[in-house]
C-alpha cells in the first residue's frame, strides 16, 4: 500500500486542569491511526472517549502535547497559525451541529465564497465554483442567496459539505456529521459522502457514536474508549464481530430494529454483562 495521507503516532492531548496546580486532563493518551488517500476511517466511541479531540487535533484546533501528526510526510502537529492556513486547502471539516456551524447572518453564497476569496480566487470564478458546489451536494442554485435558517438540518449539512469541498481538500474530518439528522436524511447524506468520495478521491476521518453509521461508510474502523484506541480493523470485522470487550458491549447495546432479534440481543447482552462482571 502507498504511503498514508495522514499518520497520527502516539498522540497525546492535554488540557490544563481546573484550579491552581491541578493535574492536566489527558483527553488523548497516545493514539495512533493512519488514513490512506481516498479511504474512510471510522472513529467510534461514546461521549468523553476523545474521538472529537482527535479530530480537532488533526484540524489544529486542539493542543498537541506529545506524539506526532504527519500529513503527506510533513509534521503538522505544531504549526503556526499562518502555516496552518496554508493547509486549509488540504484538510477540511464538517461539524456535527448544522445549526451552529453556519454563520446565521451570512447567505449561503457568502459562506461558500469565503474560503475561496481567502485563496485569492477571482470573484467571477468563485461564483461559478459556488454553483458547481451546490450542484454537487444536491442543492438548487437559487439556494445561494438564502440564509441558513431557511433550510432544514439535512440541507444545512449539505451546505457545510459544500463549504468543505470548496478548496478541493484531500482529507475531510467529519465530526458526527449525521447525528443531528433524521433517519432518512441521515441515509441520504451518508450516500452523498460516499458518492463524493468515489468521484473526488477525498479521504474521510469519520467520527461517530453510531456503529451502524460508521459501518455504512468506513473502510476501516477504530474504536476509542477513555482516550485510547481499544480496537481497530476492517469495517465489517469491527462492527459485526468485535473482539475487544468494550466494542462488544457497544455492539450489544445498540438496539436492533426488530423486536425478536432485539429480544435475543438483550438476553445475550445481559449474559455478556454478567460474565464480564464475574470475570
Amino acid at each position: 500500500m502507498s504511503a498514508p495521507l495522514l499518520e497520527v503516532t502516539d498522540l497525546v492531548v492535554e488540557y490544563p486542569g481546573k484550579g491552581f496546580r491541578a493535574k492536566p486532563f489527558q483527553a488523548l493518551k497516545g493514539v495512533s491511526i493512519d488514513i490512506q488517500p481516498g479511504e474512510t476511517v471510522g472513529l467510534v466511541g461514546e461521549s468523553g472517549s476523545g474521538k472529537t479531540t482527535l479530530g480537532r487535533a488533526v484540524l489544529g484546533l486542539a493542543p498537541v502535547t506529545g506524539g506526532s501528526i504527519t500529513y503527506d510526510g510533513k509534521e503538522i502537529g505544531h504549526l503556526s497559525r499562518s502555516q496552518r492556513r496554508a493547509l486549509s486547502s488540504e484538510i477540511q471539516v464538517v461539524f456535527q451541529d448544522p445549526y451552529s456551524s453556519l454563520n446565521p447572518s451570512m447567505t449561503i453564497e457568502q459562506i461558500l465564497i469565503e474560503p475561496l476569496t481567502v485563496r485569492g480566487v477571482a470573484s467571477g470564478e468563485a461564483r461559478q465554483r459556488v454553483a458547481t458546489l451546490l450542484e454537487q451536494v444536491g442543492l438548487p442554485v437559487d439556494a445561494r442567496s438564502r440564509l441558513p435558517r431557511e433550510f432544514s438540518g439535512g440541507q444545512r449539512q449539505r451546505v457545510a459539505i459544500a463549504r468543505a469541498l470548496a478548496l478541493d481538500p484531500k482529507l475531510i474530518v467529519c465530526d458526527e456529521p449525521v447525528s443531528a439528522l433524521d433517519l432518512s436524511t441521515q441515509a441520504r447524506v451518508l450516500d452523498l459522502f460516499i458518492e463524493i468520495q468515489e468521484r473526488t478521491g477525498v479521504a474521510y476521518l469519520f467520527i461517530s457514536h453510531d456503529l451502524a453509521v460508521v459501518r455504512h461508510i468506513s473502510h476501516r474502523v477504530a474504536v476509542m474508549y477513555h482516550g485510547e484506541i481499544v480496537e481497530s480493523g476492517e469495517g465489517d470485522q469491527v462492527t459485526a464481530r468485535p473482539q475487544h470487550p468494550y466494542t462488544q458491549r457497544l455492539f450489544m447495546a445498540a438496539p436492533v430494529p426488530d423486536p425478536d432479534q432485539q429480544e435475543e440481543r438483550r438476553v445475550a447482552r445481559r449474559a455478556l454483562m454478567t460474565t464480564t462482571v464475574e470475570g
Partner: protein
Amino acid sequence: MTTAVDLPTNIPTPPVKTSLMRRIVRRPIGVVSLGILIVVGIIAVIGPYIAPYDPNKASLQLVLAPPSAAHPLGADSAGRDVLSRLLVATQVSVVAALLALVTALLIGVISGLIAGYFKGWFDSVSAWFTSLVMALPGIVVLLAVRAVVGPSVWIAMFTFGILLAPAYYRLVYAAVTAVRSELYVDAAKVSGLGDGRIISRHILSVVRAPIIIQSAIIAGIAIAIQSGLEFLGLGDTSVPTWGGMLSDGFANIYKEPLLMLWPALAIGITSIALTLLANVMRDALERTVLVRRRRRRAVATATGSIAAVTTSIGAVTGSLDVDAASAPVIRHDDDVRAAARAGDTILQVRDLHVGYGQDDGSTLEVVHGVSLDIRKGEVHGLIGESGSGKTQTAFAVLGLLPRGGHITGGSIDFEGVRLDQASEKDYTAIRGRRIGYIPQEPMSNLDPSFTIGSQLVEPLRKSLGLSKKDATDKALSLLERVGIPNPKRTFAAYPHEVSGGMAQRVLIAGAVSTDPDLIIADEPTTALDVTVQAEVLDLLRDLQAERHMALLLVTHNFGVVADLCDRVSVMQQGLIVETGPVRAIFGHAEHPYTRSLLGAILDEGPARPPLGTLLTKGGAR
C-alpha cells in the same frame, strides 16, 4: 410523497432583512427622537454660522435683558446674547460628548475584541485594568485631572471616555467569548481565514447591535456629565457650553428665571432623545435576535421543534393534498402478544388538532387530527421524524404545549377526565400524580440550585402528603430501585455532580414515585450514550412490568421501539399514518412512509469493503 424529510427547495423566501433604520422609523418614538437628534446635529454643525451675535460679546446695557425682538431669548448676566450662546454651545457640548463616546468606543471595543478572541495575558491584564477603572470614583478622577492639566473641556471628556470604556469592554468581551465557541468560527479557522478576517466577518457582526444601543445610552450619559462638570464650574469658562449657561442661569435664578430654561431644555431633550432612541433600537434589534434564538433552541432540543414545523409547513400544506389528509389510518389487527394486553383503554385521543397562534392572528396547525388509544399496562411507541408532531401530541396530553400552542379541536380522555378541557387546576391533580413525565434532556429538567434529594422529596410530600421522613425514605428506596449505586450520596448531590445517565435515572425515579397509571417519555434515551441507553431501557422495561404502568414512548429510534414497545403508531406531518402491534409494523408495514423509514435504517446494510479492493478495481488515483 415517499420521504417528506428534506424540504422542497422552493420555499418562498420570507422577508428577512429590514434595515435597522426602517424598523426605527416605523415606531413613533423612534421618529421623534431621531428627528430631535438630527436637528441637534444640524445645529451643532451650522450653529456658529447662524448665531446672530458673537457669543462672547458682552454688553453692559443688556445685562439680564428680557427677551426682545433683537434678542429673542434675552441676554445673560454678562449681557451676552442667549440665543447665540445656545447655538454655539450646542457644537461644543455635542463634540465634547462625541469625544468621550469615541474614546470609550475605541478603547473598549478594541480591547474587548482582543481579550475575548485571543484570551491569554492580554485578557488577564485588561480584566485587572477594567476592575480598577470601575472601582475609581469618576468625578474624583476628573477633578484630579483638572487640577493637574488645567481646565479643558476636551481633556476632561477624553478622561471621561477612558472611564466609560469598561462599559463597552465588558459588553464586547461577553459577546465575543460566546461567539468564539460557535462552530462556524472553528470552520472559518479551518477554511484558512486570518484572525483579522474572522473578527471582522464573523465576530463584529454579532457585537454590532449591542454596541449601537450602548452608544446611544453612553452619549446621553456623556452629555449629562459634561453639563454637570460645566455647571460646577470645572470646565473652561471661555467656551460657551450648555452646562456653563445653566450655571449662569442658576446664579441669577431670582432675577431672571428664564435664563435657566433654555440650557436645561437643550440638555434634557437631547439626553431623553438619546435614551429613547436606545430603547427603540433595542426593541428593534434584540427582539429579532430573541426570536431567532428561541427558534434555534426549539430545533436543537427537538422538544416541540417549532422551527422545523413552521419552516416546513409552507411546503407541507402545499404538497399534502386532501386525499392524503383524509386517507384512513392503516390499522393492523392485534397479534397474540398485543391482544394479551388488550384491556381497558386508559388514554383515548380523538381527532386531536394542535395549533400555534401566529403574529398575524392566524393559527398554524401542526397536528391535524390524531386519534390514539393507550391501553392499561402497555408500551405504546409514537415514532416519527422531526416536525411530525409526535412531541406536540405528547405535550398536548400533558397540557404542556409551548407558548402560543393550544388544542384547536378533538378530545383527550384520560380515564373519564377530559384533558383537552381541563384547567391548570384540574391538571395539578393529574400531572405528576397519575401521569408521569420523563423528558429528553435530563440535565435541563433538574433545577441546578437544589439537591437531587429535595427535588424528589418535595413532589412526594405535596402529592402524596407524606411526612418529610417518609418521603426521604421513599426517595432513597426509589433511587436504589432505579439502579443508582450510592443512593445516599446522589440524594445529597446537586444535578451538576452526576452524569447524564444518572440524571435520567433520577428523573425516572421521580416520574414513577407517585405510582402513576401512565408515563409519557419524550425521547428518554436520545441524549444518552448507547451503552447507557441500553441500561435505561432495561430499567424502563422492568419498572413498567413491575408497576403495570402504561407508557407512551415518543421516539425517532426504531431500535428503541423494537426493544420496548407493544404497539406502535407512526406519525408523519401531524397525522398518524399507520398503527398496530410492533411485529406487524416491523414485519409487514403497508404505508409507504413507514416503509421508507424502515428502509433508511442502516443496521441491516453490508459494511463497506476495505479500500484495497476498491483501489485495484478503480485503478490508481
